[in-house]
Amino acid sequence: MPKLIKNGGIVDDADRDILTIEQWAALDSKTDSAVQLEPGDLIDPLFEHLDELTLVAVNFPVFTDGRGFSYGRELREKGYAGELRAVGAFIRDQLDYLSRCGFNAFQLEDESQLPAALTSLDQFSERYQADIDQPQPLFRRRS
């Protein structure tokens, strides 16, 4: 069974269908649905169904395409509380930024990297900006 990082631990991936945004849009009932976003997808249709979605995967076909970072942040800002999973060619050095953009699950192409990747999540103990982990920017927290 494939493994991934979820909520700070390495877990087995549950076997489930993840739909493209077109397939997902065609569903009659969106309850307990799962969708995978590709760079360039328009994500607005998701906003009405954020409570029904249980998994949003965001694909990074190449790790240098940063559109997925904005998807993550926008979905969380709109109130999505389910699993937000990065999939594809992203690299472990991006986990900190991804997590700050609201991702809580990471499916690396090379599973053997997972334990090392976990350490990337706590390289930084402070940050300037407001983000999903820390909604208050540093300037509102400075003492």
Binding site: P39, F63, T64, D65, G66, R67, F69, S70, R73, E74, E77, K78, I91, D93, Q94, D96, Y97, L98, R100, C101, Q123, F124, S125, E126, R127, Y128, Q129, A130, D131, P135, Q136, P137, L138, F139, R140, R142
Partner: protein, 554 residues
């Protein structure tokens, strides 16, 4: 200047640790070349023609004497004893070893410096007017906002993998010395109808292959909205900027493709959910930022007496008089001048500075300018707060180390990228062209007679030497493996910003001094009294220059 607290220091220190680990993994073969590339770039490290190049951030150009001494030590320990001031106010090392870069970064962190995001497809160093805080035509000091933008953009989680690099410049004066029209975002401090100061926001300016003057997306933005509005712009760009072609990936192309009105609407739509959120600036934060850019303890003078003394010194020593006239400008405080130290002496690569010169400047900053210095995007160094009465002593010390060249704003004060001597992107060398022009026009009287003129040289399309906005711009091009130079005229980086027009077919390197001679003598023949080069060009157009330069010899 801004002083780190424990939070700033921790962020920079942890970044050094992170990069040390990444470098180690790369050297061990655990991290591929392709994966390491953007990571090292976002820590300032390029791999160049002959060696790596490390670009060190100088936030909005401000340095302390302590930082300058550390830079001198770093150039000696890890490099060849000199550094280079870049056209975005940063400092570059040309010969570091990749393995040693984490140590260099740790040394920099010990004096509150870093190389974060000086390269790569992310938000780069925010730049501003080198005379910020002392300029006599200043509406408000832009530096507190530069620092606020620096903190917001540093390790921003959403905008580290943009379609392309992203540059922000801020200006708070009548005369634009920060080239805000040529930046991805230009911010200008302006009053609204009620006299409250906010930001005019320009987007989509840029040089490179497709030079564009920025468009106004917001006439006046309340200060507290600065970061949320920037975030909305960046989000639109991150989502919609082109990623299929690196030459069409800058925000200027997106703004052109969408049209500025649609772009403005897209930003407004994104802004709805960000506006008034936690990133809205508080009055306390703006006040806190301002506390770092207060006026130093200026002395009170008998200004008449000090002006008279200076006049006597100038008369007694005309060389000094020339230097005062060309290299110093008026200050907000009477009895003080802001001094520009030229890094454009003939025979030295423009913008280069040796370790000894760095140390001497650190001492001079301590003695004469409250221990602070600024780098300029014209690749010079400024001591912003010099007592008029100390100018002569300062000038004498500068003369002793070859730093008293009196050419600021004149022909030989050229902006020049490192070019083909160092840079792997370059099509042609730029330093030898600059040197050949400096050598040809070494007659000071002729140079002063020509008046203020900006000559900008880039070794390739990427336009690090800002050739499009030089009054005379020179661009190195590759013609079937040969280095040639294209000339454009009439560019300007002022508020009446303009992109230069190409004169005609390009020239061989050895012909460039003659070409310059013809351009300049055309100007001298055609100028009316008091008219500078740009004004004459704007009046007569490009044709007379073209005719003279390309005239067939009979």
């Amino acid at each position: 200047m801004y002083i780190y607290d424990q939070y700033d220091q921790k962020i920079v220190d942890e970044r050094v640790d992170q990069f040390r680990g990444q470098t180690q993994r790369f050297l061990n073969g655990e991290l591929s070349e392709a994966a390491f590339l953007p990571l090292r770039l976002q820590n300032g490290l390029y791999v160049q023609r002959l060696a790596p190049m490390l670009r060190i951030a100088v936030p909005y150009g401000l340095l302390s004497s302590t930082q300058l001494r550390k830079l001198a030590e770093i150039t000696r320990t890890y490099d060849k004893g000199y550094a280079h001031v870049s056209t975005r106010q940063n400092i570059q090392l040309n010969w570091p070893l990749l393995e040693e870069v984490p140590d260099i970064l740790a040394d920099l962190a010990s004096v509150q410096m870093h190389a974060i995001q000086t390269s790569g497809n992310c938000i780069r160093n925010t730049t501003t007017d080198q005379f910020a805080g002392v300029a006599s035509d200043e509406l408000e000091d832009p530096r507190p906002y530069c620092e606020i933008v620096r903190q917001w953009s540093t390790l921003h989680p959403e905008f580290a993998f943009l379609p392309r690099k992203f540059k922000i410049a801020v200006c708070g004066t009548e005369e634009d010395r920060a080239a805000i029209h040529s930046h991805d975002i230009g911010l200008e401090l302006v009053p609204n109808a009620d006299g409250e100061i906010g930001f005019k926001v320009l987007v989509g300016g840029g040089l490179g292959r497709t030079p564009v003057i920025g468009s106004v997306v917001c006439e006046w933005l309340e200060k507290k909205h600065l970061l949320t509005y920037l975030e909305a712009i960046l989000r639109v760009y991150n989502q919609h900027g082109r990623r299929d072609n690196k030459y069409k990936a800058r925000i200027k192309i997106l703004v052109k493709a969408m049209g500025v009105d649609d772009f403005r609407e897209a930003v407004a739509a994104e802004w709805v959910s960000l506006k008034d959120g936690p990133s809205t600036l508080t009055e306390e934060e703006i006040a806190r930022a301002k506390t770092f850019f207060t006026r130093p303890a200026y002395a009170q003078f008998d200004s008449e007496a000090s002006a008279a003394a200076l006049a006597t010194q100038k008369e007694a020593d005309p060389i000094f008089g020339n230097w005062v006239k060309r290299n110093t400008v008026a200050h907000q405080i009477s009895g003080y001048r802001a001094v520009t130290i030229s890094l454009k002496a003939t025979g030295f690569a423009p913008g280069d500075i040796t370790d000894e010169q760095l140390e001497l400047l650190a001492d001079l900053a301590d003695q004469h300018s409250f221990g602070e210095l600024r780098t300029t995007h014209q690749q010079n160094i400024v001591l912003a707060d010099v007592e008029q009465a100390s100018l002569y002593a300062l000038w004498q010390k500068l003369q002793g180390v070859g730093l008293a060249t009196a050419n600021i704003g004149y022909l030989t004060d050229m902006i020049c990228c490192p070019g083909g001597d160092y840079c792997s992107l370059a099509n042609a060398k730029s330093i030898p062209v600059a040197e050949a022009i400096q050598t040809r026009f070494d007659d000071l009287d002729y140079m002063y007679d020509l008046g203020p003129i900006e000559v900008n040289i880039s070794g390739c399309m990427n336009a690090c030497g800002h050739h499009h906005i030089g009054h005379i711009g020179i661009l190195g091009v590759d013609k079937k493996g040969q280095e040639f130079y294209q000339v454009c005229l009439g560019g300007s980086q002022s508020k009446e910003a303009a992109i230069g027009k190409i004169l005609g077919p390009s020239f061989r390197q050895q012909d460039m001094p003659d070409v310059m001679d013809k351009i300049l003598s055309t100007y001298v023949d055609l100028r009316s009294e008091e008219e500078n080069f740009l004004e004459t060009y704007r009046r007569v157009g490009i044709v007379p220059f073209k005719e003279r330069v390309y005239a067939k010899a009979d």
